[in-house]
């Protein structure tokens, strides 16, 4: 007679095998989560104007404050706890014998299945983060290009004229000061005097700003790069993160497959132990020749 508990165990394992096979076959693309695990950063003008290294920090801070970051953190904590549970179950199963060992092996596989689901969900969240980050940096890069480029030939011509005018103007400032304000009875205007004073103060401030460590140009591999280059690197980093997540999904798929195989092996062993899976053996084929005597001898009659 088969034990009812064992029936449950075997059917549970078979169901687990099917579920794991599905998980292994199709890790699945990221879907919109209804759990509030979202992050919707805006490619604002403020971000475009920030110094590059502060830009990344601002984006990181924005992410840390999002529901997506909280969900990733929570999932990480739960995965860590689940890893410990798996280690404990494995150790316990190694030490146990008989039915208890079987029960623990079953639990171990079931917990592995949960672990794989949890890691899969976290990978999906990480992929979402990488994708959002990539899109954000690409939008910022586009805005930066729009800022930097002269919009049209007319504007470009105007900017060139303004620059030429500024240079020409600067050359005549001293002469105008001498001629218009040079006289004893014509002191410099209030605007001129205040402007000069403020300009001197601004020059000092600009020097301090230039030398400030937070205002250094972005560096990549020890080399100074432009803001655009830096943003392009951030896009590439986000792309790399996405590729790594995809690889980890593949890794998880293999883990799921292995768990499925373990589950099948355990189910097979269990069925063998119960005898339910054995073919009924009728013993050796009865030989007619050996039984001829039963027909020749008529002693019973």
């Amino acid at each position: 007679m088969t034990h009812p508990k064992r029936i449950t165990l075997v059917s549970g394992l078979r169901a687990g095998v099917a579920a794991l096979a599905l998980l292994a076959a199709a890790p699945g693309p990221a879907e919109a989560s209804p759990d509030g695990a979202t992050w919707s950063p805006a490619a604002s003008e403020r971000l475009v104007k920030l110094p590059p290294h502060m830009l990344k920090k601002a984006v990181d801070r924005d992410f840390q404050a999002s529901g997506l970051a909280v969900a990733i953190g929570d999932a990480g904590t739960r995965i860590t706890a689940k890893s410990q549970t798996l280690r404990d179950l494995r150790d316990a199963a190694t030490r146990a014998d008989g039915d208890l060992r079987l029960e623990l092996q079953h639990q171990f596989l079931a917990e592995k299945q949960v672990y794989i689901q949890m890691v899969g969900e976290r990978l999906e969240l990480r992929a979402r983060q990488a994708e959002t980050r990539k899109v954000l940096y690409e939008r910022l890069l586009e805005k930066l290009r729009l800022h930097g480029a002269a919009d049209d030939p007319v504007t470009a011509d105007l900017v060139a004229r303004q620059e030429a005018a500024r240079q020409r103007f600067d050359r005549s400032v001293d002469a105008v000061d001498m001629q218009v304000f040079g006289g004893e009875f014509a002191p410099q205007s209030r605007y001129g005097a205040e402007y000069a004073k403020n300009q001197a103060a601004m020059d000092r401030l600009l020097t301090a700003i230039e030398a400030h460590p937070m205002n250094q140009r972005p560096m990549l591999d020890g080399e100074e790069v432009t803001r655009e280059d830096y943003l392009r690197q951030l896009v590439a980093d986000a792309e790399a993160e996405r590729a790594l997540v995809a690889q980890e999904e593949q890794l998880l798929g293999y883990m799921a497959k292995l768990v499925a195989l373990d589950a099948m092996a355990l189910a097979e062993n269990l069925a063998a132990a119960e005898g339910g899976g054995e073919v009924v053996d009728g013993g050796a084929e009865p030989s007619l020749a050996a039984n001829v005597d039963l027909f020749v001898d008529n002693e019973a009659f």
């Binding site: 403020r46 104007k49 920030l50 002269a150 919009d151 049209d152 007319v154 504007t155 105007l158 900017v159 004229r161 303004q162 005018a165 500024r166 020409r168 103007f169 050359r171 005549s172 400032v173 002469a175 105008v176 001629q179 218009v180 304000f181 014509a186 205007s189 605007y191 001129g192 402007y195």
Partner: protein, 136 residues
Amino acid sequence: MTIPKSLKSLAGGGLLGVLLVSAPVAGAEAGSLENLERERAILVTTLCAPDLTPDERQKKVAQSKHRLVDLERMVIRDKSLHGQNTPVVRRAFANYDLTFLIHAAVENERDIVDHWLDSLGLSTDGLMNARVGRRY
């Protein structure tokens, strides 16, 4: 490590400072170019006014000149005009000698009136050779 609130607000203030420096001040862009053009029109009117005595004209021109020097400098330093593709700004920078009349006159070592008339294409010879007639 938690950042004190006061430090956060200071950092926020720094960012605000960055924005203030990079963004034009709304009040300052309320027409530095228009002010310059108005003052220049007053100067030209003074130069051409037939009812002023030479002394009165000289005094008024001197006052106007001082104001114009400042206004021209305000315009050339006005960052809000940089790349502002409007007809007024385009016209102003298309003709430096008329827009920055005082600086251009000093640069060319000419009197303001002469420089202004010359920039408009009016020379003494041209005026002397001109004749009154109907334009068809």
